[in-house]
Subunit: 317 residues, 2 copies
DNA sequence: CACCTTATGCTCAAGTTGAGCAAAATGGCA
DNA sequence: TGCCATTTTGCTCAACTTGAGCATAAGGTG
């Protein structure tokens, strides 16, 4: 007999404001959180994307706008026996297709068991807007390096991976490497998911440094989404999917910073936006900011019709 | 009863030399070609990648090195009823996971029904190394534009898409947009696959301008692979997966040009390689080139351990 | 009205890119 | 042997981009 296959669809729905980047999360009875997800119905869903939209709507009341496929996860042993969660035939092999969605506002989802969560709750080491978080050097790195040392002949390779991923030892911090960082923590048994999934004993490290877990492999999918978005924001004008119709340049910069987890150089950010011709001033001003009133801008959607469109530059501040 | 799901795995295995980029293709009895592919076995394959490697080995005798997941195709109505091809239970919904693999040499596959094919056979409009191919402006654009005109209220939108994708009307040619170009041709009914798949009547255009079709949705997967590789070559040092151990800088340039379908500026290409520190001279020289002997270089694999590694610059020639 | 805050304008040095010229090192051929 | 074709390799120069910082503008507040 052939093992049946079940396809799960999971969505990372992202919003952001000047304070933080958010992911839409569903809340289970026991307080655990996960991503909006459900089974792909081969008879009822013409495409993955349509199926995904159905599930997100059903679980969060939310209608996603921009959506793109992220990755398809099919490895055995990396996920929970999630099939039960999705009421798939037991014994089925579950594979899951992750999607990334972007939205300009955190719509009201209070009627559902869903919450907008600052994604740094799941990845506290990813927020470098106020400088490199202490937990990296004080909690994460020591635990990881002791795991590396225990690696026998793999010790050197592990050391190198850790240094590159977490920017130790004068290596630069590369914000796109979100997934690599999560995978190392997982392999090292530092992510609660790893031990839960029947993995190794955890090296000790303070729980608050390791972020909140999610059900199944959802934190892995979230990490994938963050990495992809951080990369894409630089070469495609996708930030604007996260912005309201009108915004100030500082609003825009704060959102980019929230996504990247990295501060930017203000004047240079503005100059490059100027050159990019991605935005136009509206001649309207807002004094909501406390200082000199700022001009409101809008995204020039026409720019998308102009071929050469790039994303926003991200001059380090 | 639940419709069963079958997962297909398809591989785009790429090699390249100074003359052309190649994809590994399997040849069917009727002369049609396709990609190495087969069904994912949920009981026997621990991961997609392992399953894929099994199939590629079985069908081509070839052992792929570098492999990455491309995309998962699940839309109804965009593919052949391929299930039969893969002897899936009839009535099953087929979804297919595409992979990209890179290899430094075209190994001997003569014992199998497999061939290394210059991928421009499938996409003749993609090769701009000797300048923009005439077929774009003489055959493809006219046919597409007449399709656009027939689009009623969609006519303007279609025009814009075509101009951007094919670089008409002074728009730049952007080599990564391989998939967009193929999809437009498909939608316009110009790809033989489209009419075969029960689609619309084809606008007329000379067959040799439209490229050779492939079975099922394999040409779409190939287009996805080309676009991805063309992008990635610029920001990750993946070209070197296509190079032999030792090579001259011109060899390297020719391979990059073959992949991009675009000529590069020689001196500037060298200068940027120099700065990148991705290669080191070996002090050995080859006079295989006819002129002054060229130094042999190798890829500094250590560079991968250095965090900031980018791909190769591609200064337009 | 001084002063705090934020927006916006401007400058300057350093680095990168695009484009081309010139010299060097080989083989082939008169 | 000497000239030529061919290719590698070195060098230059202008245009542009980036990183960094200073200066000024335009609001609100005590």
């Amino acid at each position: 007999m052939m093992t049946p296959i079940a396809v799960g669809l999971s969505a990372v729905i992202v919003a952001a404001d000047a304070n933080a980047p958010y992911a839409l999360a569903t809340r289970l009875a026991d307080g655990a959180t996960g991503l909006p997800h459900g089974r792909f119905d081969p008879a009822g869903h013409r495409t993955f994307e349509l199926g995904l939209r159905d599930w997100v709507r059903a679980q969060t009341g939310f209608e996603p706008g921009y959506v793109e496929q992220l990755y398809t996860f099919g490895d055995l042993g990396r996920e929970l026996p999630q099939a039960e969660l999705d009421d798939a035939p037991s014994g089925a092999r579950l594979i899951s297709v992750g999607y990334l969605g972007l939205t300009p506002e955190r719509t009201d989802i209070s009627a559902f068991d869903a919450v907008w969560r600052d994604w740094h709750r799941y990845f506290p080491w990813e927020d470098h807007r106020k400088g490199r978080p202490d937990i990296i050097d004080h909690a994460i790195a020591p635990a990881l390096l002791s795991w590396a040392d225990a690696g026998g002949k793999n010790a050197t390779a592990r050391h190198a991976r850790i240094q590159i991923a977490f920017g130790l030892d004068n290596q630069p911090w590369i914000e796109e490497r979100t997934l690599e960082r999560y995978e190392i923590l997982y392999e090292a048994g530092l992510a609660p998911e790893a031990t839960r999934d029947g993995g190794r004993k955890s090296v000790k490290a303070p729980a608050e440094a390791l972020g909140e877990p999610m059900i199944s492999d959802h934190r892995r999918i979230l990490a994938t989404a963050i990495g992809r978005l951080r990369g894409k924001i630089k070469y495609r004008p996708v930030v604007f999917e996260l912005m309201p119709e009108k915004f100030t340049l500082l609003d825009l910069q704060k959102v980019v910073e929230a996504i990247l987890g990295q501060p930017l150089h203000k004047q240079n950010f503005r100059r490059s936006l100027d050159r990019s011709e991605l935005v136009v001033g509206l001649g309207q001003f807002t004094q909501a900011t406390g200082g000199r009133p700022a001009e409101l801008f809008r995204f020039r959607r026409e720019a998308l019709r102009e071929g050469h469109v790039s994303g926003v530059q991200t001059p380090r501040g």
